[in-house]
């Protein structure tokens, strides 16, 4: 027969665990609000920037800017993975990490070298364990990302993307000294969790560089990114993006011919110089948004996970209490039977 005292102890421990998960749920709920407010605050800047970029790309001929041009041969891809510092957030980190790893493995199988940039301890530990040391990493910031983080990642990406072609890639495999050097990257891809609403996160894959100017007008609606479903392979997502871009290019060609007729902007000192400043900022802004979005998503995921844990604890307590009661009842019944039996034996005598 199970020990009554042991069951009582078990109930007490589940109850205290439930208290912890309930508190974490409440903390996460409060943090979601803070995180969402930051996204709202950051929106005017990105909207204003998109407006400027949209007017430039539809008006003047800007396609020859290095950040807008695709590299002919893709030898090295920079993969940015945004994760959290702490766990206890359900599948939040594992989803994004799995998708990024699948993507890296698929590209490596095609003979393309991949480098990763991680934010959050989880991503760092994951790739380090797999012997893929991040070229740049940030930790202890996932819950409160600053623009400085986005700036540093952004300037790294721009430096890598615009690095001249003569950079010898054999350097990359010569691991030791090559670590602190920036290697030329031919594409920059970002993986992160988009906070669709308080309860749901959507895993997104976005191409950061080359900047896809045909999606400027659409970025605000999140159309520039690819949603990845659980069973959809990362490669399929890339092909989908290409198709979408071609459609957008066709549409943009119509718009730009119309825009030439209307009053165009004047650029000081010149279109190229404005783009030189604007495009790196655009990259940084997108990264900053992704960091904020992921931070909000992290809290959402944690709240959901902690709610599920609290509910499970409630169920467990109910079950344990039933067992406890039936065991106690059993013990009482046994005692009564023994007393009755004893009394009957005395009577017989």
């Amino acid at each position: 027969m199970p020990d009554l005292k042991a069951i009582r102890k078990r109930i007490a421990s589940v109850e205290s665990m439930q208290q912890i998960t309930k508190t974490m749920e409440m903390v996460a709920t409060a943090k979601i609000r803070h995180a969402t407010e930051r996204i709202v605050k950051a929106t005017p800047y990105s909207e204003a920037m998109l407006e400027v970029l949209d007017s430039i790309s539809s008006g003047a001929s800007s396609a020859d800017h290095p950040l807008l041009q695709e590299h002919e041969e893709i030898k090295n891809i920079l993969v940015i993975v945004i994760t959290s510092d702490r766990g206890l957030a359900g599948g939040f980190n594992s989803n994004v990490l799995r998708a990024a790893e699948q993507y890296v493995m698929a590209r490596q199988a095609e003979g393309v070298h991949c480098e990763v940039i991680t934010t959050g301890k989880k991503g760092l530990a994951y790739f380090r364990y797999r012997k893929l040391e991040p070229v740049l990493e940030f930790h202890d910031m996932s819950a409160d990302p600053q623009i400085s983080h986005a700036r540093q990642i952004g300037s790294y990406c721009v430096a890598a993307y615009t690095k001249p072609l003569n950079d010898d890639l054999t350097e990359v495999s010569a691991e030791v000294e090559g670590r602190d050097l920036i290697h030329r990257a031919d594409q920059v891809v970002l993986f992160y969790n988009h906070c669709k609403n308080v309860a749901d996160q959507v895993l997104l894959q976005e191409q950061i560089l080359p900047v896809n100017q045909y999606l400027f007008g659409k970025y605000a609606d999140g159309e520039g990114s690819e949603k990845i479903d659980g069973d959809q392979s990362a490669i399929a997502a890339v092909h989908d993006t290409k198709e979408k871009v071609e459609q957008a290019q066709a549409a943009a060609a119509d718009i730009s011919s119309a825009a030439e007729l209307s009053g165009a902007f004047e650029y000081e000192p010149g279109v190229a110089e404005v783009l030189d400043e604007l495009l790196p900022s655009y990259v940084q802004t997108r990264l900053y948004h992704a960091l904020l979005d992921s931070a909000a998503g992290e809290q959402g995921a944690r709240r959901k996970a902690m709610k599920a844990a609290s509910d499970n604890a409630s169920d467990m307590i109910t079950t344990l209490e039933r067992v406890y009661n039936s065991v106690r009842q059993g013990a009482i019944t046994t005692e009564i039977t023994e007393i009755v039996g004893g009394a009957a034996a005395l009577e017989d005598n």
């Binding site: 407006e51 540093q152 300037s155 000192p269």
Partner: protein, 135 residues
């Protein structure tokens, strides 16, 4: 009285200023600009410097230090996209000094070709500029 138009100063983190103004002056790469209502469509790169907004033609104007960015003017609105911006009356000398020391410490600890170094160089320039504003 000149007619008013909408002026916004935004940084990636938040909107710093949003109001109806009569005159805006901003530090361009090749000299300062002034914008009034019905400005021609114009996009320009800004240098690190101080911009002034006049809500009324004859007021002293409010000054904002900005760490570079762009200005977009289009008829009835002027939008300043600043990398960083601060109302000059709210500059805190101690905070700037603290930040500057932090940046320099971090720079000293990093190798010259470290990808993070460029950021701290820019940041320390910005703090130095803020301190120079205080005189």
């Amino acid at each position: 009285m000149a007619s008013k138009f909408d002026c916004k100063i935004v940084t990636p983190e938040e909107m710093i200023y949003d109001s109806q103004v009569e005159l805006v002056s901003a530090p361009g790469l090749e000299g300062d600009y002034g914008f009034m209502n019905s400005a021609a469509p114009y996009v320009s790169v800004l240098r690190m410097g101080t911009m002034t907004v006049h809500e009324d033609e004859h007021d002293q104007g409010r000054q904002f230090a900005i760490a570079g960015g762009y200005v977009e003017a289009d008829g009835d609105k002027v939008v300043v996209l600043a990398a960083q911006a601060l109302d000059t009356s709210t500059i805190d000398r101690d905070a700037c000094n603290q930040e500057l020391t932090d940046c320099k410490d971090k720079l000293a600890a990093l190798a010259a070709d470290d990808p993070k170094a460029a950021y701290y160089q820019r940041q320390s320039k910005w703090q130095e500029y803020l301190l120079s504003r205080l005189g």
